[in-house]
């Protein structure tokens, strides 16, 4: 993040509502993508709560250049929390499948509403933790180490969860 953006973060940290507004312009699409992909029908609520926490806790961010990774951790945490709460209150309960093949992929057909609906219906049958791993690795392009840091788990855990998540997706997709 270069200097003008760092200064905008500092202004927002000092409580400047115009700087906060510009920060939301930059962060909202990325928070929406994370929360929607992980929390699905609870994504709007998760995104709202994530933005509140980001702005409220912004003064605690020591390094403005670390904004995006810090905001991502908050968004992922809120998305998983909302998705888990939704499951406890009668949402779709996903089955984790322990498979050895880790080379499965997520279908990436753009601009086809029927495919979008199919992707969503398959995602609904994964757990929030599986969706989080897929979002961070396959949508956001994080490395396994970076995804592990975001989720607060060991890299080995990311590898095994990712393999199971991809296989669960592949299995559901081809049913």
């Amino acid at each position: 993040m270069h200097e003008p953006e760092q200064e905008q973060v500092r202004e927002a940290q000092r409580g400047d509502i115009l700087a906060m507004s510009r920060l939301l312009d930059e962060l909202s699409p990325f928070v929406a993508r994370l929360c929607g992909g992980i929390a699905l029908e609870h994504g709007d609520d998760a995104a709202q709560e994530a933005l509140v926490q980001i702005l409220r806790d912004l003064p605690t961010l020591r390094e403005p250049g670390a904004l995006r990774g810090w905001a991502r951790r908050i968004a992922v945490r809120e998305a998983i929390r909302h998705a888990q709460r939704g499951r406890r209150h009668g949402g779709v309960d996903a089955q984790a499948i322990d498979e050895s093949d880790s080379r499965a992929v997520i279908p990436v057909h753009a601009a086809d509403p029927a495919v979008a609906l199919d992707v969503r219906s398959v995602l609904e049958r994964l757990s929030p933790e599986q969706r989080a791993i897929l979002v961070l690795r396959d949508l956001e392009g994080l490395s396994e180490d970076e995804a592990a840091a975001q989720l607060g788990v060991a890299t080995g855990t990311v590898k095994s969860r990712l393999a199971r998540a991809r296989e669960a997706f592949r299995k559901r997709w081809t049913e």
Partner: protein, 174 residues
């Protein structure tokens, strides 16, 4: 399927973060701001043509603002002056103003307005006011007025919406 995953063109679900959600987030991060929302039975374009019309409509619903004048504009960045009930007392604001969203700050005041459509015939509106110098006392004072301001906005919008519908019906019948 086999091979390497290829983000990011997948049609993944995305959350929806509208203008009201953004204003809520700013208000939640600034505890001295008084914040209220309500729903208006009028389409978004009509509502924002009133709620977002700083120079003409704000003095109609905010009794502490006698006039507002835009003194400079650079895209969505505005400079404003406003006058209130105390003669000669002016406030200078910097603002971001775009369809459905406006935040303004002066040395001693912060104001925000937002509107988001709920279908074709209703709109959610949100409003905050506050002063970092007045703190919780100021918040309590502003909370006593901004609810009434939103009621006035709703009344203005719904009256205009009804008038528009009547005109359209008369034109269609004529």
């Amino acid at each position: 399927m086999s091979g390497t995953p290829t983000p990011p063109s997948a049609p993944w679900p995305s959350a929806h973060i509208d203008a009201v959600a953004r204003l809520r987030a700013i208000a939640a991060a600034r505890p001295h701001l008084a914040y209220r929302e309500r729903t208006v039975a009028a389409p978004f374009e009509l509502v924002w043509s009133i709620f977002g019309d700083l120079e003409h409509a704000v003095p109609e619903f905010d009794r502490y603002v006698r006039w507002i004048r835009i003194t400079a504009r650079d895209g969505e960045r505005l400079a404003l002056e406003s006058g209130g009930p105390v003669p000669g007392l002016r406030m200078r604001f910097e603002a971001i103003h775009r369809p459905g969203f406006c935040v303004m700050r002066a040395f001693a005041a912060e104001v925000g307005m937002a509107a988001s459509p709920i279908g074709p015939a209703a709109t959610r509106i949100a409003h905050f006011e506050g002063s970092r110098f007045l703190g919780p006392v100021g918040r309590w004072l502003f909370l006593r007025t901004i609810g009434g301001e939103l009621e006035t906005v709703a009344r203005l919008c719904e009256a205009r919406s009804e008038a528009t519908a009547r005109d359209a019906a008369a034109t269609g019948a004529g």
